[in-house]
Symmetry: C2
Subunit: 392 residues, 2 copies
Amino acid sequence: MDSPDVGELTPPNRTLMGPGPSDVHPRVLRAMTTPLVGHLDPSFLDIMDEVQELLRYTFRTDNTWTIPVSGTGSASMEAAYGNLVEPGDTVLVPTNGYFGGRKAEMAERAGGDVVTVDAPWGEPLRPEDVAAAFDEHQPDVFGFVHAETSTGALQPDVPELTAIAHEHDAYVIADVVTSLGGVELRVDEWDIDVAYSAAQKCLSAPPGASPLTLNDRAMNKILDRDQSPRSWYLDLSLLEGYWGDDRSYHHTAPITSVYALREALRLVAEEGIENRWERHRETAGAIKAGVEGMGLELNPEDDYWLPSLNAVRVPAGVTDGEVIDYLLSEYDIEIAGGLGDLSGDIFRIGCMGHSCRPDNVAFLMTAFADALETLGADVDADAGIAAMRDVL
Amino acid sequence: MDSPDVGELTPPNRTLMGPGPSDVHPRVLRAMTTPLVGHLDPSFLDIMDEVQELLRYTFRTDNTWTIPVSGTGSASMEAAYGNLVEPGDTVLVPTNGYFGGRKAEMAERAGGDVVTVDAPWGEPLRPEDVAAAFDEHQPDVFGFVHAETSTGALQPDVPELTAIAHEHDAYVIADVVTSLGGVELRVDEWDIDVAYSAAQKCLSAPPGASPLTLNDRAMNKILDRDQSPRSWYLDLSLLEGYWGDDRSYHHTAPITSVYALREALRLVAEEGIENRWERHRETAGAIKAGVEGMGLELNPEDDYWLPSLNAVRVPAGVTDGEVIDYLLSEYDIEIAGGLGDLSGDIFRIGCMGHSCRPDNVAFLMTAFADALETLGADVDADAGIAAMRDVL
């Protein structure tokens, strides 16, 4: 077997305006060049404390149990479902997007009985439907998606949903993958028991260490389990030994990913979380104005608009795939198409974290206008650019 | 809630001579500053192919199913056990080290019935004991540790062990966490069905993407499962969709960790895998000669010496903890103590990947001699340094 001849790493220089990963800030890339210390080094234990403190700030929570999970976003999702859901628990999940289905998969594998609350793809859950599902099924755990990456729809009324769940003594798991650090989220004030996220969306760190927070109520359910969770790697009662007071070895933490997350979270703290939410609304607002100015429609109603992920309906005259390919090949810009029920119907244009900048928006809208015009869509590109410029 | 005031990342500049992580090569750190492309970008699909090719070279295998798992080493271990072990399978695991116990935990959570084959901590399994355990228990899956990180013992006779298992139609899972890329390992020639490893040992990449290889026989068992594996994140039948021909979305890969692993594996290919094994034997041989020259003993017999992790018995007159603390505080060198049955009895001195260099060995031995003399151990430090210099 000869040595493979693999050359230097020279990927193209993309501008990442899809559903994630987003562009990583140069300071975060630089932090990743920091030589490693051991995962039990006293200096790393201090770094862990700092990351936990920064995560609490970003989640808007005082939860002790606030950690980065050693994997990408789906690992933090499975850590939430795999630990909180016990065999025989009834788990209520939504059907209004791709990531609701993933929750059902994970809850079932954890031994839960899955029931659903329905809404069309691209629309949020209605509190009255959630209340009716609670009355019918009496679930033990209720999972919902705050910011649906697959549809670009924001779930409003979060405190109403958590109140319904808590009136029924249920636990609430919020998917905040595409909101944390970019869209208003208040874990404690909104009474969310468990929330999980990812690094590569509005935090703009590379995927690899994924935020998770649990309040004492949720953690007590986990620590009182009769059976161990089905994953050893993601067992939070064991991870408590490492991230809690003992600092005892469980598994080797992804040290460099923790360095990266720390730097990304420092950028959040320096900007101020509320300023950051406002920046996302304003900057993504220019995308929204621009595409609407061209004559295109956003898929969600304005009340459910998700600044971090703009779902734009594909206009007549083009297919999603040819526009996506054009942007990638002609401009090195990544955007994405729809999934599931919205496959072929929408473009998904992210505006997250360090990707959420006026220069990226101006470049994207210029390229998008060119793609639509060149490929023959019936749009008023000049009006769109003018509308974008008014806001930007 | 005020913004946390967390300063620049400035960890101490350690020399990592413990059980991992090892020092990361500057080229690997630099590769991690490469701006991200999306996990479905055509250019990333090419990078995935390259990483798979490089992993095959390093594992000495032609297995199609050779991928980095999106987590640290324990994630690749759980991917192996959680997928190959089905509920009701009998799983034979060793008791001769800390990581045997972890396999039992994972196999049980996967629904397996665990039986054991015993050897003292620090000694390898004997083929006759494995054969007896097969006759007694008729296990479906046999897991063993090629290089026990907790005891510094190498398992010889691997082809004999795999032959016993295959005569009984069982599957073999090899833990090669502390051997891959540093100690002779031949997955195909030795007839290993599944092998998993980590990035932060002899490959010297930061932990975060962990090598796993499975032959078709093992993969067919997984694809024929009646029940889904209990983890969605680590489900190899779903990961097949991403890493196989379809390249369909499962979860977001840890892109930067894949970049890092690619560069670390390029360094392996440039050096040549057999040269690399030889470098570890020679360079770690200077540690072995040095500590023996001082009058210390290695815990394993010479036949089971593991160059990548040298288990040195703690001499009279000092405790492991005070020596470890002295090296860290006075020299910024990380080594570790024993675990479990060997707790307090051994030092664990790693010599892995980019840490396995003459300059590191000279520095370590100088510091170790100082620590032992200063703290009052009965050693002949000068003789040890001379013996180390003879080999180095």
